[in-house]
């Protein structure tokens, strides 16, 4: 037990050492991709908590990301910036004058998103299965429609511009690791076991006396909290946000990640995030003309999304478990793997 904890802490320390190195030595492009990886990890892990661990298939992360991004951005923008930006309809005064530094703004973004999740939970958890998926999909869409229309809060389609570029590797990875630790601990707690019970058989869970509504709500609100923060980090990475950023496309990307990683596995999610984020950059080569010796193959713009959707279908048909299934990576299994190999070598 102790050995495993030391190993986990050790690898986290190693990760941060790498980030320290990356900050000074890697070029801006790689740093951007590393930031994207951390933010997507946070989104995907939170999304997997409700979809994979609790088994409540929902499609709302783009809505939560939007709420978090807008909240954080509105809080860190200076009153002067806001005044200059809201050229069509002036901002409501109490929002215009509010101003915060980055860290508290992110926390508030998380809390606001969690509160929306809490309120949303009441209607949506009255339905199960596919209905839940459609209702949450509708929520994501509604948030986008609302952010387009509430001009005095969100600046409508003009979006928010000139958001300070606060997000760096320390912030993004710091929050991503913190989110992973909290979510993993939650999964291994009494609540986590109840979540898995609901996933495996909701009626049986009810019969066992589990308050399924409460447990689902805990998962949903936790998920909303971290997705809100991740949205805030995203806003401060790309520095300009508008409603078009938070379409169903974002949710689709996260869905691919958690399906590849394994619905219900956090470590699987981590592996899949790296694969998808880096893979999607790497796949740019299929969209650009390629010169292999004297042969020129024209690039096919848009091909990346075709490849990803085919990948999703193939995984669902042939490898529904994804990389890790519902299992988690553990040091024990790793050592076991080495041991059996050694035995086999002898």
């Amino acid at each position: 037990m102790k050995r495993n904890q030391i190993l986990t802490i050790g690898s986290i320390v190693l990760l941060f050492l790498f980030i320290g190195y990356a900050n000074g030595h890697l070029n801006a492009y790689y740093i951007r991709i590393l930031n994207n990886t951390a933010i997507f990890l946070m989104f995907a892990a939170s999304y997997n908590l409700i979809n994979g661990v609790t088994g409540q298939f929902s499609l709302e992360p783009n809505g939560f990301a939007a709420i978090g991004a807008y909240t954080a951005a509105i809080l860190t923008l200076t009153p002067a910036q806001k005044e200059a930006m809201f050229i069509i309809t002036p901002m409501v005064p109490w929002l215009q004058h509010i101003h915060m530094s980055f860290f508290p703004a992110l926390i508030v973004a998380g809390i606001v998103t969690a509160m929306v999740g809490f309120i949303l939970g009441f209607p949506v958890f009255r339905v199960r299965g596919d209905y839940l998926a459609i209702v949450t999909l509708g929520f994501g869409l509604t948030i986008r429609v609302v952010s387009n229309n509430t001009m005095s809060i969100t600046n409508g389609p003009l979006g928010l511009k000139g958001i300070a570029n606060y997000t760096n590797l320390w912030w993004s990875w710091g929050f991503a690791i913190a989110a992973m630790i909290v979510i993993m601990r939650l999964i291994n707690s009494e609540f986590g076991r109840a979540m898995k019970a609901i996933r495996d058989d909701e009626d049986a869970a009810i019969a066992m006396g589990i308050n399924t509504f409460k447990i689902k709500m805990i998962a949903f609100v936790t998920s909303a909290f971290f997705e809100g923060i991740a949205g805030g980090l995203l806003a401060h990475l790309i520095t300009t946000i508008s409603p078009t950023l938070f379409t169903f496309f974002l949710t689709f990307n996260l869905l691919i990640i958690i399906v590849i990683g394994g619905l219900g596995s956090m470590t699987g999610t981590a592996i899949a995030t790296v694969l998808v984020v880096w893979g999607s950059e790497w796949l740019r080569i299929v969209e650009q003309p390629m010169h292999i010796f004297s042969l020129t193959i024209p690039g096919i713009p848009g091909m990346r999304m075709v490849i990803f959707s085919i990948l999703l279908i193939i995984i669902m048909i042939f490898a529904r478990e994804g990389i890790m299934g519902q299992k988690e990576f553990s040091w024990d299994s790793l050592f076991k793997l080495f041991k059996t190999k050694k035995v086999a070598n002898k």
């Binding site: 492009y29 991709i33 387009n148 389609p157 080569i285 848009g302």
Partner: protein, 375 residues
């Protein structure tokens, strides 16, 4: 697994080999335009224009080839930021041309500013794009000017006293342009009698049309993109709403004519370019070459794409040629003065181009030249 790794290693090696390329002298310029996604048609036209312009001026004054590296941003902010980052740090470009839409250009701006790489947009017309920026410029005019030109034309040439506004609330372009039109139109004594809202992707406008019809305005100002305008016009004509529809440069697309058919006859809009208004030598050469290669007339996007390229080459030359630093190129871009481009004579002031606008309208299923309005 080992086999897979081997294949991977070979591929990576091949990629690296490919990227080292030739030894001839070249200046790398990045291009970030939407080749896919909702505004792909604009990016594709701009790219065609830029390629013709490149054929016209392929080298710097000291004989180095200009190498354009095109990345697709899908019309998306995150993709634009990634692409610009990639161009700067992986491709080591000296300068970047892009993007088409204002929102995407704004997403790219902080990266350009931070790395001191000039970013030259072909068609981002929102005033905020260059505000407070040192490295972001553009070769197009800005929306307040376009709105004023439209209002002037509506009052002086169409003799409109009242107007109905149709705004696409999902496009910052539309919301901004409508605001500037309304301001000028009111200042010149016009009256706005109806203001209705649509959203990108809407296909049914019967409710809005009935509302406008009840107010019977002299003119409908609809600064949306072509798709909504084409369907709107069709339905408006069916419902007997026959007033002139005016709009901005977003209407200029072949799809407006094809989808709108007879209903878009008379639709009038402000834009950047008309082949007929071309007087300069370089403009005529461009027109000839473009028609020869693509069999159609270039549109505003193509002309602006070409201008972005030509202003860029001109700036590189004035900054000293192939060895010029990004800083020097940026300075040269921003001090462009009386440059004879495809879309007219450009002077850049604080990164914004000051130049004339063109009014065009649909006649017999074609866009025709109406007039030129100077700043």
């Amino acid at each position: 697994m080992k086999k897979l790794l081997n294949i991977l290693a070979v591929m990576i090696a091949a990629l690296m080999f490919m990227s080292t390329g030739s030894f001839a002298k070249e200046v790398k310029v990045g291009v970030v335009w939407p080749m896919t996604g909702p505004i792909a048609s604009f990016g594709q036209m701009a790219w065609k224009g830029a390629q013709i312009a490149q054929a016209m001026a392929p080298k710097t004054k000291d004989g180095a080839t200009i190498k354009l590296i095109l990345l697709d941003n899908k019309g998306d902010k995150v993709e634009t930021a990634n692409a610009v980052s990639r161009l700067i740090t992986k491709n080591h470009v000296k300068a970047i041309i892009g993007a088409i839409a204002s929102g995407n250009t704004l997403a790219a701006a902080p990266i350009a500013e931070k790395n001191h790489i000039p970013l030259l947009s072909s068609s981002a017309t929102n005033p905020l794009v260059t505000k407070g920026k040192e490295y972001v410029s553009r070769v197009c005019f800005i929306d307040p000017f376009q709105g004023t030109v439209a209002a002037k034309y509506a009052i002086n040439n169409l003799h409109a006293k009242t107007a109905a506004i149709v705004v696409d609330i999902a496009q910052d372009y539309s919301v901004g342009l409508a605001k500037f039109f309304v301001e000028s139109f009111k200042k010149m004594g016009g009256k706005i009698v109806a203001k209705t809202f649509v959203q990108t992707g809407d296909q049914d406008f019967s409710a809005q049309i009935s509302a406008i019809k009840a107010k019977n305005p002299d003119l409908i100002y609809m600064p949306t993109y072509y798709q909504e305008a084409a369907l709107f016009a069709r339905q408006a004509r069916q419902f007997g709403l026959n007033q002139v529809i005016m709009g901005g440069d977003g209407l200029e697309s072949d799809a407006l004519l094809k989808v709108g058919g007879k209903a878009v006859e008379g639709v009038t809009f402000t834009t950047h370019y008309d082949p007929k208004a071309t007087a300069s030598k370089v403009g005529k050469e461009f027109l000839k070459k473009f028609k020869a290669k693509y069999k159609v007339d270039p549109d505003a996007m193509a002309a602006l794409g070409a201008d972005a390229y030509l202003v860029m080459v001109n700036a590189i030359n004035r900054a000293g040629g192939s060895n010029a630093s990004s800083e020097a190129i940026n300075k040269a871009i921003r001090s462009t003065k009386n440059f004879h481009g495809i879309t007219g004579v450009l002077t850049l002031v604080n990164g914004d181009a000051v130049k004339s606008a063109v009014v065009r309208k649909v006649k017999d299923g074609k866009f025709v030249y109406v007039t030129t309005v100077n700043p």
